[in-house]
Symmetry: C2
Subunit: 357 residues, 2 copies
């Protein structure tokens, strides 16, 4: 448990494309949820992303990183546009934030809210609930940017990618996952890896899960190869409670998890530094969707659910619960509704109104 | 086009668990399909897999590898049992065969046959066909077994996995994929990778697809990050025609593809050496399923469809087509059938009988 701050300082990186639109709704709902909690909210906007890069060539200047550190949390919309070369903003901004701020727990809940359509056939979930959380490692694995290429552009080119996994890094995220599993009714933790092929990293993960399990004897564990995990995602997702996995496998299974739980329009995430040595960052899983930017077509729900995670992280649990309940109520009524689809702001308004009452 | 051999020499590795049962049906159907083609079939059984390892500690002795090389093709059932440490048979037998015999095209078709149940909701495929093929690279990437670990078992352990990608290796598999795409009605090739994070390897793949595209101007290409690809697998799999991807991403998306196309009980694969410098190997995607071994419960269809791929590979196209048609006809009638489930042999008999007429 964390004590709620008297003043909550949020660094806001609205970013590109639909980012500013969905973040506006996220903040609207946040203000509604926090009202009456005795916490004041201060937001600082950071102009980072594709626009900034196009204008200045900068991705994340040291001074802005230092300024961001002075905040309690970060709310990020989405960054990127087709004009920025692949990798520039990923490596220079998004992953830089995750690595510099030691976001070693990339938390991605997957829950199918009543009323939300899934691409899965009804028989897959019949009588069962889809409600699990993926604890994705955020600072190691194939994401470290280690590797290189020689003889680039020639028939003799060789390109490598090195996945780095440390006992330090694996243990802390595994312990976090156990803590979360122990706090849930089913108390089940599934390790997802590919230890039959990636045996060096895989065996480190396996041994670590076994070792940490001794501290959490009431948590049951099992193991799935990542390929088999994707099968269960579509044939029996209710089998999952907490999943712990590496950075790359986590990237893959969380997009799939989002798809079966109603789409990335609803998928929230937290890049969490559980030790609180730096601000954690909350963001929708979706990207900047430049094709619909500025048209009020984007669904802000993923951002609003990310705001709920943010509020919980800073100890405003009741405010977080209010946001989640308002979203759940809104989603339950979406399906039946006919007429034109609501705008981004209308969805934000509706959810905020449910909170304000 | 390849000329069918007068004598077809097949190395048979039935393996462990359900392997022998499904291979028996595969061979039964193969014999039925080849009858009258003027080709004699010679099979040599190789005792490899978990049983062999338990008995002798051997995975693939050099002498047997040399003997296998003397065959036109390999039919493999499944290898492994829970008593063999993870990685021993994968690295020592399965991957060893793929690497030594230069199976650089790991071919995995995904097709939803009429009558087969899918875990996807009806609206996902409404009016559209699920019929694509994944060309998975088979000899490079994170599968090379490069990497290691230091200070194992201590809090200072560091474990690495190195993905190796060469212009030589990427180009040949990409060219194979273009050739396959060009021969299909839709002529569409999707590269699946993660070049925004794995930029060294990713850019090599990207540039290679662009370069080889010049030789196949009528093939249209697109690109998906692997995480996005898993979303489309469940929300719009009909968008795929031919997918080309690396060894690890291919492992993941083909299990997911198998799941949406009716399950791994139906998923066939070919580990193909397109240059024919060594025998290609055909195997069901599923594993040895020790829990149901010896009970005649396994579905031999994946093996039988792998036999169809084998026959096509050796130039027995008509025999291959007969197998596929018989499988399709059998599958179309499975759904309606009631009563007890058929045994492994009964399914094989039924498919063989359709061919024999
Ligand atoms: C944009 C990209 C670097 C990122 C990732 O791969 O982690 C995204 O896919 C995500 O899942 O947040
Ligand atoms: C058993 C394992 C080594 C193998 C792989 O990862 O390639 C399997 O999953 C497959 O897809 O054929």
């Amino acid at each position: 448990m964390v004590d709620a701050p008297a003043a909550l300082k949020i660094a806001v990186i609205a970013g590109d494309g639909i980012g500013p639109e969905v973040v506006a709704e996220g903040l609207k709902v946040l203000h509604a949820a926090v009202a009456g909690e005795g916490t004041t909210v201060e937001t600082t906007e950071f102009d980072l992303g594709a626009n900034r890069w196009h204008a200045t060539g900068e991705t994340l200047p040291e001074s802005e990183l230092a300024a961001i550190r002075q905040h309690d949390v970060i709310l990020l919309g989405a960054v990127g546009d087709p004009g920025v070369p692949s990798g520039v903003l990923e490596r220079g901004l998004l992953l830089k934030l995750r690595f510099e701020l030691d976001h070693y727990v990339n938390l991605r809940p997957a829950r199918l809210y009543p009323g939300v359509a899934t691409p899965l056939a009804p028989h897959v979930l019949e009588g069962k609930e889809l409600d699990f959380v993926v604890v994705r490692e955020g600072t190691e694995g194939p994401y470290v940017g280690n590797g290189g290429a020689i003889r680039v552009g020639t028939p003799h080119e060789i390109a490598t990618e090195v996945s780095i996994n440390t006992a330090f890094g694996v243990e802390r995220v595994v312990r976090d996952a156990f803590t979360r599993a122990a706090a849930r009714p089913r108390k089940k933790l599934t390790l997802v890896h590919k230890h039959n092929v990636l045996s060096n990293a895989g065996h480190l993960w396996r041994r670590t899960v076994e070792a940490v399990n001794a501290e959490f004897p009431d948590v049951t564990t099992d193991y799935l190869h990542v390929d088999a995990a994707t099968i269960f995602m579509v044939t029996d997702p209710a089998r999952f409670d907490v999943i712990v996995t590496d950075n790359l496998f986590g990237d893959i299974v969380t997009d799939l998890a989002a798809a079966i739980a109603g789409g990335i329009g609803l998928a929230a995430s937290g890049n969490v530094n559980p030790d609180r040595t730096a601000p954690s960052m909350f963001e929708p899983v979706h990207g900047s969707a430049p094709d619909i930017a500025g048209q009020q077509k984007a669904d802000p729900t993923a951002t609003i659910l990310s705001v709920a995670m943010l509020l919980e992280h800073v100890g405003l649990d009741k405010a977080a619960a209010r946001v989640e309940q308002a979203v759940a109520a809104d989603l339950a009524e979406r399906q039946g509704a006919d007429g034109r689809p609501r705008s981004t702001a209308e969805i934000g308004d509706a959810i905020a109104a449910r909170i304000t009452g």
